[in-house]
C-alpha cells in the first residue's frame, strides 16, 4: 500500500511537473518573437503561437483545423517544400509568399522540422514563419548600395587608374627633367670647374706678371729717367729746328708752335696756343696756311705758300698716329724763299734766253725761206738740199725754244689763258689731222673711236689742250714702229671726259716709268732710237691737264706698247690758274 501510495504520490508530482512544463512551453511559445505553427502529419494547422496569429491576422479558432494551403497559396512551391520536409530529417528553410487574412501577401522565410514521438515516428511538423519583407528590402537596398558602391568603386578605380597614369607620366617627366637638370648641373659644375682651373692658372699668371711687373717697374724707373732725357732732347730738337713746326691735337687745336714758326708768322706762342686752327686765320700771316690745309687739315705735301713778299713756305702736313688712332697733325713749314728766288731767276733767265734766241732763229728761218723760195737768186739742187736740211734743224730749234718757253711759263704759274666752254671732239680731230702725213708715211693703222653720244662742252684753254693732245699723238706715232697701230678714244663717264691713246710702240721701261712726266726725261730705249725730242712734251702735257683740274696717267709694257689717259672734269673750276700774266 505504501508502495501504491508512493507511486501515487510520485505520479502526482510528475503530473504537476508535466503541467508546469506545459505552461512553461506555452509561455515560451507565446513570447517567442517568431511565428510558430504546429502542424499535423497531414499538414493541418493544429496550433499557432501569438506571434504567428499577429502575422497571419487570424485568431487561433479561425485558423486551427485549416491546411497550410490556406495561408501558403503558391501551390507548386508548397508541394516542393512538403516533399522536402517529408523526406528530410533536418530543418529545411525556404522562401515563399504568405497570404494573411487581409490578403496582402508577405514575403516570408519558413523553416519546417518534423515532430516525432518517443519511438521516432513522424507525428507532425513545426513550422516557423519569419517576415522577411523588411529584410528583403534591406537586402535589395543593400544590393543597390552594393551596386552603387561597385559602380563608384569602378569609377573611382578608373579615376585612380587615370590619376595613377597621370602621376606616373608626371613622375616620368619629372624624372626626365631631373635627369636633364642633373646633366645641366653636371655641365655647369664641369664648366665651373674649368673656370676655376682657368682662374687658378690666371692667378698664377697674374702672380708671375706681378713679379715681372715689379721687375719692369724697376726698369721703367730707369727708362723714365731716359725718357725724360729723351723728351728734353726732342724738345731741344723741336725748339732749334730750322723748319717751323705746328702741332695740332685731334680736335685740330694748336698744341705746339716752335720758335721758328713764331718767327715765320710773327706771332707769340702764348697768343695762339690751344686755339682751334680756324681761329688762327684771323692772323694775316697764318691765314694762307689755314686756307691751304682747311679746317680738317687735309694731307698736304710740299705746297708752296707765300706768306709775305720775302717769305715763301713749303707746307707739309703729317698725321700723327699711334696704332691707327689719330693723335693729331704736324704741320711742317720749310722756308723756300731762297730756292724760290733762285728758281725765279733761273726761269727768268731761261725765258729771257729763249726770247733772245727766237730773234736770230726767226732771222735764220726767214733768210733760209727766202733763199729756198729763190727770192735771193737762183740756187743749185745741192744748195737747196742743204738749205732744206738746215731749215728743218732750225725748225727743231724753234720747237725746243717754244717748249722751253712753255716750261718757264708753267713754272711761273702763268700758263692757262681764258678757258672757254667748248667741244672736245673737234680739238682731238684737229690734232689728229695735223699728223696725217706721218701716219701715212709710217703706214700706221690709226683709229679714232669717237663717242657715241655728243659729249658735254667743257671749259678749257683750247690752244693748250690742243698742244697736250698733240704731244700725246706725236709721241704715240713717233715711238710706234711702221705698220703699228694707234687708237685714240674719247668717252664720257661720270662727269668726266676721258681721252686715251693706245699704241703698239716701244713702251716705257718699268724702272723709268716713275720719271715719265719730269722735265727733260727721255727713256733709255727711245734715246737709242736716236729720234728727236727734248723730253719736255709730257711735262708740258701733264701741266696742261692738271692746270685744267684733270688727271693724267698711263699703262705701259716695254716692247708691247703704251696707253696714255687723261680726264677732264666737266664741272671743274680752275680760277687759280688764271693769274695775271
Amino acid at each position: 500500500m505504501a508502495e501504491k501510495k508512493f507511486y501515487k504520490e510520485e505520479l502526482k508530482i510528475l503530473k504537476e511537473d508535466f503541467d508546469d512544463l506545459k505552461v512553461y512551453l506555452d509561455e515560451i511559445r507565446n513570447i517567442l518573437p517568431i511565428s510558430v505553427c504546429t502542424l499535423s502529419s497531414f499538414w493541418v494547422i493544429v496550433d499557432i503561437n501569438r506571434t504567428a496569429g499577429t502575422l497571419i491576422g487570424y485568431k487561433p479558432l479561425e485558423i486551427i483545423g485549416q491546411s497550410i494551403d490556406f495561408i501558403f497559396q503558391k501551390k507548386q512551391e508548397l508541394e516542393k517544400i512538403k516533399e522536402k520536409a517529408e523526406r528530410g530529417k533536418r530543418v529545411i528553410t525556404e522562401e515563399t509568399l504568405l497570404t494573411p487574412k487581409n490578403k496582402k501577401e508577405i514575403l516570408v522565410s519558413i523553416s519546417i522540422v518534423g515532430r516525432k514521438d518517443r519511438e521516432g515516428n513522424l507525428i507532425g511538423y513545426f513550422l516557423s514563419i519569419a517576415d522577411i519583407t523588411e529584410t528583403k528590402k534591406y537586402q535589395k537596398k543593400l544590393e543597390e548600395r552594393t551596386k552603387e558602391l561597385e559602380k563608384a568603386r569602378a569609377t573611382l578605380e578608373i579615376k585612380v587608374k587615370t590619376r595613377t597614369r597621370e602621376l606616373k607620366e608626371l613622375a616620368e617627366s619629372l624624372e626626365e627633367k631631373v635627369k636633364e637638370r642633373t646633366k645641366e648641373s653636371e655641365k655647369r659644375t664641369k664648366e665651373l670647374e674649368e673656370s676655376r682651373t682657368a682662374l687658378m692658372n690666371m692667378l698664377e699668371d697674374v702672380e708671375e706678371s706681378r713679379k715681372a711687373l715689379i721687375n719692369m717697374l724697376e726698369d721703367v724707373e730707369e727708362a723714365r729717367g731716359k725718357a725724360e732725357e729723351e723728351k728734353n732732347k726732342t724738345l731741344a730738337v723741336i725748339t732749334n729746328f730750322a723748319d717751323g713746326l705746328l702741332a695740332l691735337d685731334k680736335e685740330n687745336k694748336l698744341s705746339l708752335i716752335n720758335p721758328q714758326a713764331e718767327v715765320f708768322f710773327d706771332v707769340k706762342s702764348r697768343d695762339i696756343i690751344d686755339r682751334p686752327i680756324l681761329e688762327l686765320s684771323t692772323f694775316p700771316t697764318i691765314e694762307p696756311v689755314v686756307k691751304l690745309v682747311g679746317k680738317e687739315i687735309k694731307g698736304v705735301f710740299r705746297k708752296e705758300v707765300r706768306i709775305r713778299e720775302d717769305l715763301v713756305l713749303e707746307v707739309s702736313t703729317i698725321p700723327v698716329t699711334r696704332e691707327e688712332e689719330k693723335l693729331g697733325t704736324l704741320i711742317i713749314l720749310h722756308d723756300v724763299t731762297r730756292e724760290k728766288t733762285i728758281e725765279r731767276m733761273k726761269t727768268e733767265f731761261v725765258s729771257l734766253t729763249a726770247h733772245q734766241l727766237r730773234t736770230p732763229l726767226s732771222a735764220i728761218k726767214w733768210t733760209l725761206r727766202m733763199l729756198l723760195d729763190g727770192d735771193l737768186g737762183r740756187i743749185t739742187e745741192e744748195q737747196k738740199d742743204f738749205l732744206e736740211k738746215t731749215y728743218k734743224s732750225n725748225e727743231r730749234m724753234i720747237t725746243l725754244i717754244n717748249d722751253l718757253l712753255d716750261v718757264t711759263r708753267i713754272e711761273e704759274g702763268r700758263y692757262l689763258y681764258k678757258p672757254v666752254l667748248t667741244d672736245t671732239e673737234p680739238i682731238v680731230q684737229f690734232a689728229i689731222n695735223s699728223h696725217k702725213e706721218e701716219i701715212k708715211k709710217k703706214k700706221i693703222k690709226f683709229e679714232f673711236k669717237k663717242p657715241e653720244e655728243e659729249l658735254p662742252k667743257i671749259k678749257l684753254d683750247v690752244e693748250k689742250i690742243r698742244l697736250a693732245i698733240d704731244n700725246l699723238i706725236d709721241n704715240a706715232i713717233r715711238y710706234t714702229p711702221a705698220y703699228g697701230k694707234v687708237t685714240v678714244s674719247l668717252e664720257y663717264r661720270k662727269g668726266v671726259i676721258e681721252f686715251s691713246i693706245k699704241d703698239t710702240g716701244v713702251g716705257i721701261p718699268k724702272d723709268q716709268q716713275g720719271r715719265v712726266f719730269t722735265k727733260f726725261f727721255r727713256a733709255a730705249n727711245v734715246m737709242r732710237m736716236a729720234t728727236e725730242g727734248f723730253g719736255l712734251g709730257l711735262f708740258i702735257t701733264k701741266n696742261i691737264i692738271e692746270a685744267h683740274g684733270g688727271k693724267i696717267w698711263f699703262e705701259s709694257e716695254e716692247g708691247k706698247g703704251t696707253t696714255f689717259y687723261f680726264t677732264l672734269s666737266v664741272k671743274e673750276e680752275f680760277g687759280e690758274f688764271l693769274k695775271e700774266f
Partner: protein
C-alpha cells in the same frame, strides 16, 4: 701809186728781208728802228699800213699803239704786229689797242707776211 708801208723793227736782218720782199711786191717802204722813230715817221710819211714789232729799244710796240690811239691822225692807220712772241694775252692786248693782225716771226714765213699785208690794204 704804190701803197706806203712803215716798218718799225729793230732787227737789221729782219728789216732787210722784209724790205726786200715787200719792195718786190710793189710797196713803198719806210723804216723806223724803234718806237719813238716809228711815231715820228708815221706822222711824216702817213703810211697806209704799219708793220710793228713789240720788243724794241726806247719805245715798245704797245706804247706806240697807245700813242697812236691818242692821235686822231694816226689812230685809223691799220697795224699788223710782228713779234717774236705770241702769247694770248699779248695778242688780246694788241687787239684792244687796235691792231688788225698779229704774226709770230718763228711761226710765219715772209710770204705769209705779204699775204696778211695784201689782206689789209691790197696790192
Amino acid at each position: 701809186m704804190a701803197k706806203k708801208i712803215l716798218l718799225v723793227e729793230d732787227e737789221e736782218i729782219m728789216i732787210n728781208l722784209l724790205q726786200k720782199k715787200l719792195i718786190r711786191e710793189g710797196y713803198e717802204i719806210s723804216v723806223a728802228r724803234n718806237g719813238e722813230e716809228g711815231l715820228k715817221a708815221m706822222r711824216e710819211v702817213k703810211p697806209d699800213l704799219i708793220l710793228l714789232d713789240i720788243i724794241m729799244p726806247k719805245m715798245g710796240g704797245f706804247e706806240v699803239m697807245e700813242e697812236m690811239g691818242k692821235d686822231k691822225n694816226l689812230k685809223d692807220i691799220p697795224v699788223i704786229v710782228i713779234s717774236n712772241s705770241g702769247q694770248p694775252v699779248e695778242i688780246d692786248k694788241a687787239q684792244k689797242l687796235g691792231a688788225k693782225d698779229w704774226l709770230i716771226k718763228t711761226e710765219f714765213d715772209p710770204q705769209e707776211v705779204i699775204d696778211k699785208v695784201v689782206k689789209q690794204i691790197g696790192k
